[in-house]
């Protein structure tokens, strides 16, 4: 039989001013289970808590109701009080007679009557409470970072620095990501490779970091602290441990006509290749789509020239399984396709390029060795037009993206400035809708492009680019002059909107991490938990969460790492005991609960049941992962049989409150 104590707090006059507290404590004396009832000035004070503790011990209370301020204020306090007196902390219920009673009602009679009802509801509930113990789960002290761009590298370095092992999975043959393709970085104009490649080397040399390049995450199971991840190591037909990266094979390979993706297809590479000089790992990879040996069995040049004997045409994809305590998504971004914006003639002229292509064009290691030359004829351009917001801020979802891509204003200013710096003879026009430069030293940077370098910034958009002969006729508006402009350009550079990498969607499904309509990962809270996914143990780093520049990416990468470190530093995870629980005798295995669970906390197991006829029956039943469930209760309503219930907020408890209130 429950033995319940009721403790009514005056809260000075905060409650007692509008609620007759002694009437309340008196009125509930005969409620079911109540064996003790009292009131006191400040229940949360040390002496108030002592009253509770003493009563629990003296009256062998099995549950208590504290009538006081909001549970959001002192529920935790009174739970500790109860625990100190040997009572399970979840045998405590709060009747909120301050915020939701004395403070919102004026007269004593009304306030007192309502306080009594609220107290009775809490008593009815606590009658049905049962002791709860939070679950514990171990933590595997290893992290997985998915994506090896600057976001992933920085996150991995920071985690490793705290002493935890970390693996990077990168789908390309080398880490480095988009930043490796960039020339200079704003607003300081230092060279991207100079600041990135040392970090790549650090990652490679750090004994806490393992890099799985040319690999993809195949499957994720488990939950926070214990994710089991299958990683596919794609066959690169080169033994990574033997290849010295000498590059001889990449010079001798007879298949020379493979578009070089690192240079945005503006030149060619061989079928066996190392993406760029500072690649990490510096290991050759055979492109199976182009390799004559793999396709026809005839060639074998690379194998012949390789003194290390690293070539292995028989190599197969390999699946490895590893357990991780935390996972960081750092899958990055790509520029969108320009197919739907052919008014800019991207598909019609080689001299209309995207900004990322322009990066390669000005990069000393790029296809033109850093000389600004037109892709079509290799001539020096005299007039260059930049178009901003191509596909960004675009309401038509079938064409572009509704959001601002955030980085374009700054890199365009950088490009314009770099051209004017190296080639003062080139006229540079930038067509913009707004110039957005929030960031340290950003606006100063943009102003320098205008004031010191004489870049023509024109408020307006380009309507059409018409390739005519070797000229690009640009028709645009100048909104401030209220004129339509016609410029004969030699090169047009489009600031293409950026979008999350295509792999993010399938990864999100594997991780049961949520995404927004644009396929950016969603944060657990947009303001207060910006680097965590709502799925426990999954963290977000870099542009996979939203458009970001390098400084912002690096700081977010560090923030994600610190969250990971905080998790891995724990030996055990203590859960919230108010979570869902399925009664397997009643469960139909219908999957309704699984479909509404935002956390993927519900799985199904085939369970054996003894039947009355002594046979066994295997039935599919739901099983709640206590470490993953957050206790929202969505599943309890989806469940048609009522097998699913929520501890601490059971259907019976809530109905008993309803009954008490309506009595």
């Amino acid at each position: 039989m429950p033995r319940i104590g009721v403790f009514v707090c005056w809260c000075g006059s905060n409650i007692a001013g509008t609620v007759d507290v002694s009437t309340v404590s008196e009125a509930v004396k005969n409620e079911q289970g109540v064996v003790f009832s009292t009131n006191y000035q400040y229940m949360c004070s040390q002496s108030g808590q002592d009253i509770i503790k003493n009563a629990i011990r003296k009256h062998n209370l099995t549950g208590i109701v504290v009538c006081s301020c909001s549970p959001r204020m002192h529920e935790a306090t009174f739970r500790k009080t109860a625990a100190a007196a040997g009572l399970n902390p979840y045998m405590v219920e709060i009747a909120n007679i301050r915020e939701q009673c004395s403070w919102v009602h004026k007269d004593m009679l009304t306030g007192t009557q309502k306080a009594i009802v609220l107290t009775k509801a809490a008593i009815a509930k606590v009658n049905l409470n049962s002791p709860l113990t939070p679950g514990e789960s171990p933590v595997t002290k290893r992290a997985l970072v998915i994506g090896g761009g600057i976001a992933g590298i920085q996150t991995a370095l920071d985690i490793a620095d705290a002493g935890f092992p970390v693996d990077i999975v990168e789908t390309k043959p080398t880490i480095g990501g988009k930043m490796a393709q960039l020339d200079k970085t704003f607003p300081t104009l230092d060279c991207a490779a100079c600041i990135l490649t040392p970090k790549m080397v650090d990652a490679a040399q750090n004994d806490k970091i393992r890099i799985y390049s040319y690999s993809e995450v195949e499957e994720v199971n488990g939950f926070v602290g214990n994710f089991d991840v299958k990683i596919r190591r794609k066959a690169r037909y080169v033994k990574e441990e033997l290849c010295t990266g000498c590059g001889l094979c990449t010079e001798k390979c007879p298949q020379k006509k493979v578009p070089n993706e690192f240079n945005m297809g503006m030149d060619n590479r061989r079928a066996i290749y190392i993406p760029f000089a500072q690649a990490v790992p510096k290991v050759a990879t055979i492109d199976a789509d182009y390799c004559t040996m793999l396709k026809t069995g005839k060639c074998g040049v690379c194998s012949k020239v390789c003194t290390a004997g690293a070539i292995d045409y028989k190599q197969k994809d390999e699946i490895i399984t590893e357990r991780y305590g935390a996972i960081v998504a750092a899958t990055g971004f790509n520029p969108i396709s320009m197919d739907k914006f052919d008014e800019y003639a991207y598909s019609q002229s080689k001299d209309v390029i995207t900004s990322l292509e322009f990066e390669r064009l000005t990069n000393a290691a790029g296809p033109t060795a850093g000389k600004l030359l037109r892709p079509s004829d290799g001539k020096h351009p005299h007039t260059v037009v930049f178009v901003q917001c191509v596909g960004s801020r675009c309401a038509a979802a079938e064409k572009g993206k509704e959001y601002c891509s955030k980085i374009c204003c700054m890199y365009t200013a950088k490009h314009a400035m770099l051209i004017r710096d190296k080639y003062p003879d080139v006229e540079v026009y930038v067509f913009y809708i707004d110039v957005r430069t929030p960031g340290k030293n950003f606006d100063e940077f943009y102003r320098r492009a205008v004031e010191e370098y004489g870049v023509h910034y024109i408020k307006g958009m380009v309507g059409k680019v018409s390739p005519e002969g070797d000229v690009l006729k640009v028709q645009a508006s100048d909104l401030i002059a209220n004129k339509q402009l016609h410029i004969d350009a030699d090169l047009v550079v489009l600031a293409a909107a950026i979008e999350p990498d295509k792999s993010a969607r399938s990864l999100a499904t594997m991780l049961t991490a949520s995404m927004d309509t644009n396929d950016f990962f969603t944060e657990a809270h947009p303001k207060l938990r910006p680097v965590e996914s709502p799925t426990a143990g999954v963290f977000l780093s870099g542009a996979c969460q939203g458009p970001k520049d390098i400084p912002e990416t690096v700081s977010q990468a560090g923030a994600a790492a610190s969250k990971v470190i905080g998790l891995l530093a724990k030996d055990k995870l203590i859960g919230n005991p108010c979570i869902a629980h399925s009664d397997e005798m009643m469960c139909n295995g219908c999957s309704s609960c699984e479909r509404v669970c935002p956390y993927g906390a519900i799985t199904y197991v085939n369970k054996e049941f003894r039947m009355p006829d002594r046979t066994t029956l295997v039935r599919r039943v739901a099983s709640v992962n206590e470490a993953v469930c957050q206790g929202c209760g969505a599943c309890t309503v989806a469940c048609p049989s009522g097998a699913m219930d929520l501890r601490g907020f059971t259907a019976q408890q809530i109905m008993s409150e309803v009954d008490a209130i309506c009595k």
Partner: protein
């Protein structure tokens, strides 16, 4: 008249039984009178030949029986199968049960049979046949005759008629209908969506348990909650109304929900596609607000 004769179906089933491919046949068995047809399991060819019928009185939807049939030890033991005859509308129920993992697909051999509509003992067609929604069998291992098409039926007309009433009229209408309920549970027991291991209405812990009709609230509660429990899972097979001894048009409750969900969240037919996600276990960020879902019907609420 059904286009397919009992003989044709008996031949199919007998052949499968004889070959050992199936160990039982779930079908319809004739009784004393021609209208007296009951669902039955046949295990030998003789019984099948003598007693199996497929006539205009075979309205019963057999899919629900498979939930318990396939649990029986003989099917669990090895890969033995039960053959079932399903009319087009029954295949939706079967598919829905597959979606909910209530039936092991590999333990069942489905023979889809065409249906020209079924009649009651007075010879009148059942409501569910008058407003037949589909002649298309959506799942089968073997198809007898030609497969039909989904029908653009007028099944929501009656719901619309009630919606157009005033609140008083609607209340009076349902008070009149539901007050006849005797809580016999026939609707629940026949419903292919009601296959819970333990029904909430039989479970004292659910707070909803009540076995006898004792107050006008009780029947409303029972029918609203039942409609909700099958919402998004009800294929509109019409069995609830067919078996109701009090002739309460229970399908109008389920159809209201189907209509509402179709209008608010896009067309959805439970059981049409195995594994599909029902509207109430799904959402969109731009869903209508509850306040927008009401007030479309008659005046003065």
């Amino acid at each position: 008249m059904q286009a397919i004769s009992s003989r044709t179906l008996v031949d199919i089933a007998a052949k499968k039984l004889a070959s050992g491919e199936v160990s039982a046949v779930l079908g319809w068995k004739k009784g004393l009178f021609n209208y007296d047809v009951t669902p039955a399991v046949f295990t030998d060819e003789k019984d099948l030949a003598e007693n199996f019928v497929y006539t205009d009185f075979c309205a019963a939807n057999l899919s629900k029986y498979l939930v318990n049939e396939t649990k029986k030890p003989e099917y669990r033991a090895d890969n033995r199968k039960i053959l079932v005859f399903l009319k087009p509308c029954d295949t939706y129920s079967f598919n829905q049960l597959l979606t909910e993992h209530r039936i092991h697909r590999n333990r069942v051999y489905v023979v889809a049979v065409p249906c020209n509509g079924m009649i009651d003992l007075t010879g009148a067609p059942y409501e569910k046949c008058v407003n037949c929604k589909s002649k298309k069998a959506v799942v089968y291992d073997e198809l007898v005759g030609e497969n039909g098409e989904v029908i653009d039926s007028n099944r929501f007309d009656e719901v619309e008629r009630i919606e157009a009433m005033s609140a008083e009229e609607r209340f009076a209408f349902w008070q009149n209908e539901l007050s006849r309920c005797i809580r016999c549970n026939a609707c629940r027991n026949v419903c292919p969506a009601c296959t819970c291991e333990k029904c909430v209405f039989d479970n004292p812990a659910s707070g909803l348990e009540n076995k006898a009709i004792s107050d006008s609230f009780e029947e409303k509660m029972f029918h609203i909650i039942r409609a909700f429990h099958v919402a998004g899972r009800c294929t509109d097979c019409g069995e609830c109304s067919r078996v109701c001894p009090q002739h309460i048009p229970l399908h109008l409750l389920n159809r209201k929900l189907i209509k509402d969900m179709n209008e608010a969240y896009g067309e959805y037919q439970a059981g049409a596609v195995e594994g599909s996600r029902a509207p109430l276990v799904n959402y969109s960020e731009n869903d209508i607000e509850p306040a927008e879902a009401v007030g479309k019907g008659g005046n003065n609420a």
